[in-house]
């Protein structure tokens, strides 16, 4: 169909020939990496070869809202506790929009998202979320200063090409930044690397080294020093254990770095 109302154009033949196919699955850095990032999975599952531990909790909730909340990821719930009600929030690498939806329900935020996968963006749109198909590594530069109260980077920083650049822009765009990431200093990872001499493949890090979207792993200590380098102040820092629960006891950084499966940081501009 050409750009007109009638003539038999190329498109008209196409229309007949190309039945709407299933949306192609896009392998994307910002979405794929979240697949294994469910902290509720069993601690040792990923260490055992072939251990078939379910990686995801049930996703289809019967009733939106309360059941969605019940099944919400632990790190998402923690983030929701950090965000003030009615805030303006940008979720960078927002996946299927479940965190934004949770924040809208629980905190009444005015939420926006950036997501690399078109399919995920489509799911977000169907949830009524305002999400842009884009790449955190480039598109953050397009946002004006102080556009948001919070900019969130959940389980995504390790998949960016320029983590420092991304963090700096987050702190420019938002008054506060929330970053969560898998801790490469966790004891399980250290066992894999230190004792077995292999790149770790665990529940939280399910990819082989050659096809992982996660190209910039860091430990909790590494991230703390990056925060210092970019002059970010730490308002809250939480280590989640492998079951997704905060490591409650007050421990020195090195211990958190060993026990924390994930790091969750609430940052503000200026140390």
């Amino acid at each position: 169909m050409s750009e007109e109302t009638g003539a038999p154009g190329a498109g008209e033949a196409e229309r007949a020939a190309d039945a709407p196919g299933p949306d192609e699955t896009e392998s994307t850095r910002l979405s794929v990496k979240a697949a294994g990032a469910f902290p509720g999975a069993t601690v040792l599952g990923g260490l055992l070869p072939g251990g078939d531990v379910p990686r995801e909790r049930p996703r289809q909730a019967l009733d939106r809202g309360s059941l969605d909340d019940f099944y919400a990821r632990a790190d998402h719930v923690l983030i929701a506790d950090m965000v003030e009600s009615g805030a303006r929030v940008l979720d960078v690498g927002c996946g299927d929009g479940s965190l934004l939806a949770l924040l809208a329900r629980r905190r009444g935020v005015d939420g926006r998202g950036i997501e690399l996968s078109r399919q995920n963006v489509g799911e977000c749109l169907a949830k009524g979320l305002a999400v842009i198909q884009g790449d955190a590594d480039t598109d953050l530069a397009d946002y004006p200063d102080d556009a948001f109260d919070y900019v969130i980077l959940s389980q995504t920083i390790q998949a960016t090409r320029r983590p420092r650049w991304v963090l700096e822009h987050m702190l420019r765009i938002g008054r506060r930044a929330i970053v969560t990431f898998p801790n490469f200093g966790h004891w399980r990872v250290r066992i894999e690397l230190g004792l077995k001499g292999r790149m770790p493949v665990t529940d939280n890090l399910p990819y082989s080294w050659y096809d992982t979207p996660n190209i910039h792993f860091c430990t909790i200590r590494d991230f703390v020093s990056l925060c210092r380098e970019v002059g970010a102040g730490m308002e809250r820092a939480v280590a989640l254990d492998a079951s997704g629960q905060p490591v409650r006891v007050n421990l020195p950084w090195w211990a958190w770095n060993l026990l924390g499966d994930q790091g969750v940081f609430l940052l503000r501009r200026g140390g």
């Binding site: 169909m1 050409s2 750009e3 007109e4 109302t5 009638g6 003539a7 038999p8 154009g9 190329a10 498109g11 033949a13 196409e14 229309r15 190309d18 709407p20 196919g21 299933p22 949306d23 192609e24 303006r88 005015d110 926006r112 078109r118 399919q119 963006v121 489509g122 799911e123 977000c124 749109l125 169907a126 949830k127 009524g128 979320l129 305002a130 999400v131 842009i132 198909q133 884009g134 397009d142 946002y143 004006p144 556009a147």
Partner: protein, 390 residues
């Protein structure tokens, strides 16, 4: 199958007495045009589908592209072809006429019943021709707004359009932000690029170089600049496709022959195809309308109306936007859509953006490309929930 001559005659009738409903505006309701003219009397031809709900909250305005018209989801009265977006609009379709009241109007300057250069000038009894004032996208939208007023609709649920239709969507959102709940600008830009103006100029020069154009007064002489307009259409048509789509569809294949004829016959399938495109277009479209509507696109620069900053056009906008582009569209490339998204972000407007994978070029917006209709359906459904439309 209507003969070409019959189609041309039918098209001529449509300019003044269209097959669709017409809203007529007299001397008491002139249209204030950007050219500085108060146009009166004038008329706007439109189609509607579905029904307006009691709250008058479910109206969707579809804006057509350069050579489209109001017959978006019904059989075309001149060509007998299906509506140009009937895959998207209809009962149970992504823009569901069982739920929404869909309106589509022929643009100002068009030739399917809205006042334009092919319409009869009441002062002379002849077609306006070049006496018709130059038209802008803003004029088109102002005319549509007056139609929507007459239909008793204060606020539109959605304004949807691709290409030049997308320009109208942006203009609507900028001019009447409180009247647009949701906006879907597809395969479009906030301004016409130099390259696009260049292509349009080539097309216009082809029309004007045809001796039968007669300085724009061809209808008085009972002739039409068919050759010039067909060439314009052929050139423009190439810009709606993509290299890979052309290669896939035609390659270097020959048309009904085993070997080249060593002549300027349409040896190649692509030549034959383009000639057909040109010929079938001129049967139904007025050459002067083509000049006017291409010019309207050239003049479009939404940022210029707001001190050069596009974000200024959307300041304080509460309209929810869904911007869509296509990977192989080189007429309105993704960068044009991203510029719109960038401005909407700067204006803190709720905006979503999707780039659809397609090798079908600019025309992809008219096709049922994987991902396109699902995206539109998801966005429209969520917006309808937010507006409380059953």
């Amino acid at each position: 199958m209507l003969s070409a001559r019959r189609i041309t005659e039918e098209a001529r009738i449509q300019a003044d007495e269209p097959a669709s409903p017409v809203m007529r505006f007299g001397a008491d309701a002139p249209l204030a045009m950007d050219a500085g003219v108060a146009l009166a009397p004038w008329q706007i031809a439109y189609q509607t589908y579905g029904s307006l709900n009691a709250e008058r909250s479910n109206a969707v305005l579809i804006c057509h592209a350069l050579t489209g018209d109001q017959h978006v989801a019904n059989v075309h009265p001149v060509t007998g072809k299906p509506g140009w977006w009937e895959t998207l609009i209809g009962p149970g379709k992504p823009i569901d006429t069982d739920r929404f009241f869909v309106i589509c109007a022929n643009v100002l300057g068009g030739c399917m019943g809205t006042t334009g250069p092919a319409s009869t000038n009441p002062e002379t009894g002849q077609a306006y021709g070049l006496d018709f004032p130059l038209v802008t996208i803003g004029d088109m939208v102002r005319a549509q707004a007056m139609l929507v007023d007459r239909l008793g609709i204060e606020s539109l649920f959605a304004v949807v359009g691709g290409s030049m239709g997308g320009m109208q969507v942006l203009q609507w959102a900028a001019t009447y932000p409180e009247r647009v709940f949701a906006a879907l600008p597809i395969a479009t830009g906030a301004r016409h690029s130099a390259q696009n103006i260049a292509f349009h100029e080539v097309g216009r020069q082809a029309v004007m170089a045809d001796p039968d154009w007669r300085g724009g007064r061809y209808l008085d002489h009972g002739v039409r600049p068919h050759k010039g307009l067909a060439v314009a259409r052929m050139g423009a048509h190439v810009t709606y496709l993509s290299e890979s789509a052309l290669h896939r569809k035609f390659g270097r294949r020959l048309q009904d022959r085993a070997a080249p004829t060593f002549s300027f016959d349409a040896d190649f399938q692509i030549e034959s195809y383009l000639r057909h495109q040109g010929i079938s277009f001129v049967e139904r479209f007025d050459a002067n309308s083509y000049l006017y509507v291409t010019r309207a696109m050239d003049y479009f620069d939404l940022a210029a109306e707001h001190g050069g900053a596009l974000a200024g056009a959307f300041r304080g906008a509460r309209t929810r936007f869904c911007v869509i582009s296509f990977t192989s569209d080189w007429l309105f490339p993704t960068s044009d859509s991203r510029a719109i998204v960038h401005a909407l972000n700067a204006a803190a407007a709720p905006v979503s953006f999707v780039e659809i994978e397609s090798d079908k070029g600019h025309d992809a917006f008219l096709l049922e490309e994987p991902g396109l209709f699902g995206t539109i359906r998801g966005f429209v459904e969520a917006a309808a929930r937010a507006r409380g439309i059953a």
